[in-house]
Subunit: 192 residues, 4 copies
DNA sequence: CATGAATGAGGGTTCATTCAT
DNA sequence: GATGAATGAACCCTCATTCAT
């Protein structure tokens, strides 16, 4: 307390120690230690008080949502690229699902809160998820039209399947092949 | 109250406060409140001290493994029944996977420790899982021989897929259809 | 959004975001949620930063004092009315104490800081309280002169008694009669 | 952590560091710093972990109730003594109220939780309070019979009045006479 | 072999107040 | 003058696990 107090407060108000700094630190820590890293720990690591962290992100989901937002642009760009470049609707869906799988594997433990969010709807993550379900549905519709996907398959199911595979993947340290294998099964499962 | 009570209790519960009694209570509690129910709570509910609980089951996974052991007989019986009664190897595999799905949904939150166990190997759950992977492989081999299953699919992958679907299912309160949909996809994914 | 919003807000709220606006909001909030409502919350509700709030009112007591100031006019008017209209000094004192009780019940949790202020003297509330003690003393003196009040009773004691009854009242949700009962006791206690 | 760990655990399991030790420490601390001393602080001062404190007393009210229990015996003894020795029912009631006032002034800040408990009923303090209200009613009944107390006065009101006076008293550091003055008023208020 | 008190790190969260901008 | 981000101590409480009895 003494040390902290005597240090110039000005130094701490530094611009780098703001939202984006916290995000950066959180990104790094979630990447390394998974999303269940304690909020206090993140605050400490970011060099801010817990209050500051909570000011920016009122709960873990909000922080997570912000973190994923950054990747959202990437993912949206990927969607656009697929739309532009991949004219086979079946291949397009496959590529989109792959991109989605990538996204859901960003941090260890990410699939869990996503799954929860999808059901509760009250989380800031819910919106994000819903958006991706919708996009999945769009790709899927095209595939349905072209006869490339089994008609009973729904976008939400594919999204959940991707989530589930990511969930398997994250812990399957001992066997890196399992993730791919499940993707193959899923692929064969929805394709005609 | 203390003395009299203790003595009486000691005499009365001589037998009941043993392994199987704890198991019964834990079964009930895990069923109702999920596997993350506090160990202390289970001990208290079982009328034993935490020490006694830990004497019998050195950690949560051990308790879980013991609990699943009880269902193991059931599952093994199911396997035998399938072997006896279902002569189409593809249908047999399908029914086995269904039984497995049932097993993995016994308690809320069960898929998580199972997934972890599968990778670490050190957990008492690992053995249990390994056993089921093996059985799955047996059914799968038959299906492979008969051309009913895609040759690249492995037993471990199917086991993980079942686990993953159970994981999705347990939280998908809002949409009970998702579990079934994922099962369909998986089925179409491994079948030829 | 940030820039445009800020400028617009700055222009629009030039006047509203001043002392009296804050007071209005605080009044509403203290009335609804009691005096321990967080300072930050009030600031936010008033649409100002906490800094602004603190500029006007260096602490909660100062805010409270300002709030009570507004009611002070009311109370002073009541005093004047009693002086004018009630010629029996005993009845006058009784009516004044009733008015005082009303005042002390303005916000939930008000009696506490008032009691504290009365002892510390350093609080802005202290002055307010002292003023009312003085007025009480005036009414009491008249009653003493006319033999309507026991001579040993002091104004400060009556003020504290009123405060104490208000304190009882605010939590006595289960029994609305207690407040009145205590008032009766007090009345019988000071009257001859 | 290192230090604490290396210290023999045996030393900490010492008999003095049990319930009564905690009570002793709490008693001292509540006496010196009032009842709002943080639970963690008390635990630390008692040389136990917060968990130990919470094991014995699940919340602050429980701790308070236990602390008051010790004084309860004293108070009950006082009641018996009054019954035996004071044959004038009015004087008996007066003395009982005085004893009650003493009890309610045991710790700084005690009246507040007592008042709350009286309304909510769910607190362990509620029972204690109810008991004293009942005793007050007994003394009051006798006084009513003998015409020494105004018939409209109820035991609960007197209890609350005593509480309120204790509340006034605890902060009236600047003026020790206020408490006594309020007692006089109350006395004159209920007596005929 | 059973007991259950003790441990104590750790978790999430709040809020009065300051101060650089 | 106004702003509002930052501060960080404090609070309450939980729980897996140990170990003296």
């Amino acid at each position: 307390m003494t040390e902290a107090n005597t240090r110039q407060r000005a130094a701490r108000t530094d611009k780098r120690r703001n939202r984006s700094h916290i995000l950066g630190v959180a990104e790094r820590y979630f990447t390394e230690h998974g999303v269940s890293e304690s909020m206090n720990a993140i605050a400490k690591l970011a060099g801010v008080g817990p209050g500051t962290l909570y000011r920016h992100f009122p709960n873990r989901d909000a922080l997570l949502a912000a973190l994923l937002q950054a990747r959202s642009d990437e993912l949206k760009a990927r969607r656009d690229a697929i739309r532009r470049e991949v004219h086979d609707s079946t291949a397009a869906l496959a590529q989109w699902l792959e991109a989605l799988g990538h996204w859901a594997t960003a941090f260890d433990g990410l699939p869990e809160p996503l799954r929860l969010a999808l059901n509760e709807g009250s989380s800031p993550l819910a919106l994000t998820c819903q958006g991706y379900v919708t996009i999945t549905d769009e790709f899927l519709s095209a595939a349905h039209r072209d006869g490339g996907a089994r008609p009973t398959v729904r976008g939400k199911d594919l999204f959940l399947n991707v989530l589930a595979i990511s969930w398997v993947r994250e812990a399957a340290l001992a066997d890196e092949t399992s993730g791919g294998a499940l993707e193959d099964i899923m692929r064969a499962g929805w394709a005609t």
